[in-house]
Symmetry: C2
Subunit: 229 residues, 2 copies
DNA sequence: GCTCGTGGTGTTGTACACATCATTGTTCGG
DNA sequence: CCGAACAATGATGTGTACAACACCACGAGC
């Protein structure tokens, strides 16, 4: 997404996509933590538009489960209870396995380059853990992996579910319910394992590794909730 | 969240849901065939609201892939090419199997009653096939089946994918690329088989039957496209 | 006769003012 | 002193006028 987006085209749809991506990223990277109230007027001013087109973006984010608007009160970043999260995670790792079976494509040279860059970033974070960089890496790596499938509907669904759950997991990490250094280490190993599977051309295995890591990261998070209520 | 929603509350959200459901049904039942242009003004007048809230509904339908708005031209009911349809169908019958594994719940008495009514309607359609009634039955039966799972995210996804694909299949049927009488007969057998699986409590089997029928109906449709280009 | 330019018409997208709703602080009555 | 009604405030939702844009028909020029 947002490949080049020639800036000489401030068309309506492009503006929409840009605003949507920006706000979504802020929510998922916890710049807007769950429970935060978003000011329509302030956001509209920031993007240099009126409330009308901005509200369209917020409505979309609400349909994706990231926001909730209440008449007369405000629009808030949603939080999710552990029960709903469990269902979503269960679905997510089943879909990860599906991704390996349906429309898996071998990475091209550009993707390899991105993977190498991501791996390097991961090593750096392991040396010096930093919450924000870790969150960004996590998201960028997920988006890179998505380029391995050509089943568009499946890709869309996985993306939506990822954006819906990742901030909750990140919140757990940042609140030290999970140790950041440990998590960075584990994630670095995940990257390593998946890339090795990709190198020998076994996309199926890569998908299974991803599935396993999604499952385990949820389990760790659940433990975090149990030990520190 | 939305605990009781008393129906004496024509609140903003209820109006939205109602308009959304109505237009979506019209699209899926081919009252608005693919390619049709929808008039914002006419629809707004019909629902007794201004363009603003109606546009919110249309934007949602666009995000669900049922509409496409083009600046200065109009908003049109989308059509899908056979390639995209193949991917979606592949995903749909994989998800049908998933539904059997994840969060399957036994039907309660109310659902049994609905199933019996649906079965009766099916028998009637077999006797006297009628396109519109067949389409409605198909949709109602699907919605009833959805009540067998309690994994909300999965349910939402299956629903969206169903609404996205079913009108294309119905179009094939109505254009006589597929024989309506045959299709009614096959569908009646699907209902029969699934209900029998449910009666003995084998939700797993019911899901597999559904999966098989989704797969086969797509195959028949593909044949229809091949034999009559 | 053909082509290119140009205005007309109808559509979606935007800005802004106002209606509606929920919260909160205040004030009056007990 | 306490409680309830009420006005003030600020948020989202709606209505309306206007801008931006695309298509089409008409006509002037070559």
């Amino acid at each position: 997404m947002n490949v080049v987006t020639p800036e000489i085209s401030p068309s309506a749809r492009d503006r929409f996509e840009r605003m949507h991506a920006v706000i979504r990223t802020r929510i998922c990277l916890l710049d807007y933590a769950p429970g935060t109230r978003l000011s329509e007027e302030a956001l509209a001013a920031e993007f240099g538009v009126s409330r009308t087109p901005l509200r369209r973006v917020l409505a979309r984010l609400e349909s994706e489960g990231l926001l909730q608007s209440v008449h007369g009160v405000g629009t808030f970043v949603t939080d999710v209870d552990i029960a709903e999260l469990a269902q979503t995670y269960q679905l997510r790792f089943e879909l990860a396995e599906l991704t390996g079976r349906l429309g898996a494509v071998a990475p091209d040279e550009a993707l390899w380059a991105d993977f190498r860059a991501l791996s390097a970033r991961s090593k750096e974070i392991v040396r010096a853990p930093e919450p924000k960089r870790f969150a960004e890496l996590n998201m960028d790596f997920f988006m890179a992996l998505q380029r391995l499938t050509d089943n568009e509907p499946l890709k869309d669904i996985c993306e939506k579910l990822y954006f819906r759950t990742t901030r909750i997991w990140l919140k757990s990490v940042f609140e030290s319910k999970i140790d950041l250094a440990d998590e960075a280490d584990i994630f670095d190993r995940e990257i390593h394992d998946i890339l090795r599977a990709l190198e020998i051309g076994d996309l199926h295995a890569a998908a299974h590794i991803q599935r396993a890591h999604i499952s385990m990261s949820f389990a760790r998070m659940q433990n975090g909730f149990k030990t520190r209520p």
